[in-house]
Each structure stands twice: as structure tokens, then as C-alpha cells.
Amino acid sequence: MSEFILLLLSTALVNNVVLIKFLGLCPVMGVSKSVDSAFGMGLATTFVITLAAGASWMLDNWLLAPFGLGYLRILTFILVIAAVVQFTEMFIRKTSPGLYQSLGIYLPLITTNCAVLGVALLNVEQKFSLFKSLLYGFGSALGFTLVLLIFAGLRERVALARVPDAFAGAPISFITISLLALAFMGFSGLNI
């Protein structure tokens, strides 16, 4: 049991997918203007990453490995991710039109979020079991959502602060997220 908790903690905090591995930076910069849409994006990406991690594990172990089709791995994973994102988009459009409006173009862009493909490929590399790879995906997505939420909160405050003209807009956001990344580096001292 403690093994699973440690895996969750280490993927969410110590090996954070955004701030340590630098995957999925586009939605972090794009959808972090308000906490509400950041939370929605985090939930949608969590759903997609977890599902894609599970589905890609099954495909890799039950379809690609037995037939020796390892060279089709990236192609297959992209296909599965695109389908999962399409499904998520339909689901959100049905259940929450407001969230669908506020996420806008970033929702279909989860397809090209490199964190999703990155987590699926890293899963294969580390030869996890199905449950562990699901947990790995969920932990990474949790870390992604956490960073997105923290960063959106920071940006909401920075928007009210007086920023020198040269730094206004994107530059101050990049400086903020680099400081956040420095803070997350502190977790690498955790002995787990």
C-alpha cells in the first residue's frame, strides 16, 4: 500500500510533469488566466491522462508486444489519445456548456498536449503493471492540475499588481512559473 502512495507522491510532486519534466507547458501558459477554467482544464486533462495511460498500457501489452509491433507505438498511442480527447470534448459539451465555452480551443488541444503522450510512453519504458501505470498517469495528472491551479492563482494576483511595462504580460508569467519551478525543485530533497 505504502508503495502506491509513494508512487503517487513521487509522480505528483517530486517528478512533477510540468515543472520538473517540462511537459505540457502550452496549456499551463494558455489556460491559467483564471482559477475556474484552470480547474476545469485540470480535471479534463486528469481524465484524459489517466484513461490514456490505462488504454495505452493495454494496447502495448496485449496488441503491440505479442505481434512485435513496437515500432507502431507512437502512432497507436496518438490514435488512442485523440479518441479519448474527442470523447472528453463531447462529454463536457453535453454536461457543462459553460466550461466548454471557457476552455475553447484548449480542449481539443489536449490531443497535442505532450504530457499525455509523454506519460504513456514513460509508462511503457518503466514496465509498470496495469494498476501501477494507471496510478502513474493519475499522479502525473494530479501534479499537472496542482501546478495549473497554483499558477492560475499566482497569475490572478499578478494581474492586479503593478508590473514594469517591459515585464507586463507574458514575461512576468514566465518569471513567475520559473520561481514556481524552483520551489518544486525543493521536493527532490524528499527521500522517497
Binding site: 509491433l69 470523447f87 463531447m90 462529454f91 453535453k94
Partner: protein
Amino acid sequence: MIAAILSLTFLGAALGIILGVANRFLQVEGNPLVDELASAMPGSNCGQCGFAGCAAAAAAIAEGTASPACCPPGGKALAIVIGLKLGITVDLSALSDDGPKIATVAEELCIGCCRCSKVCPTDAILGAARQIHNVLREACTGCRNCIDSCPTEALLMQPVPVTLQHWIMPKPLAA
């Protein structure tokens, strides 16, 4: 080779069927009237009506909160079409419309500052820095965004010139 083709075909077919079924169950009923109105509009999302793009304006017109005559690039022709679709009479007196107009560049005034090409929603203005700009007639929707951006007032709205390619025989008058 065969295994690769078969597995990808199978995968694509399975995912396609799943998505097709999901689409059936998660179908969202859009307002067909709004879609119809939006397709009649210029579609360049120039924002002169005060709404966020043509789709938002179409939704407001369908709800009745905006006037069918609120679209300046569409002008009188669009207002009449919308009035026919909604079955209402439109007050056309506010529209002093004497035919469609598109932007043109007065070559002797243009200084090549590129400000107009940046605000054009359809990329209809050609030109590089310190080169005289030109407007592509086929792409210009007459939204007037560029008129205010010109520092030398070189951009003018002119009636669409009749050329051999554009001339259409006028319809006979109803007896």
C-alpha cells in the same frame, strides 16, 4: 506487415465505432436558426456589432435582443435576408446603404506603415513595410476596421467596381 495493417485497421474501426455511438448519446441540440443566421453573415468576426464574433451576434438576433440591422459589413442586404428568415419587418431606415463597399488604398497617400494589414480580419491587405499596400477585392468583406488605423487617411471605402468577372445581369423587374 499484415499484422501491422490489421491491428491499426482494427483499432481505428473500434475507436471510430465507440466515438460514433458516443456522439449519438451525447448529442447536443444546437439551435438550427442560429446556425442558419450565422451562415448568412460575413463570418469575418470583425466585432463591429459589439458581440464576440458572428456566431454570438446570430444568437443574440435569434433571441431578439439585437437588431437584425446590427451588422455593418452585412448592410441592408443581410438585414433583409435575416428579416425574411425570422419573419419580422426590419427597420431599414437606419441603414443608409447604397450597395456594398470595399476598402481601397490611395497610392499617393500610402506610406507603407503596415498598420492596416494588422487589423484586417481576413488578411485582405497586402503589403510590406515602406511598400504601397493593396487590397484584395475577393477577400475584403468591407468591415471598415482598417479605415481608422490609417495615419494618412489613405484607405477609403469605395463601391465594388464592376469588372467582366463580377458583372451579373440584373434580374428583370416583376410585372
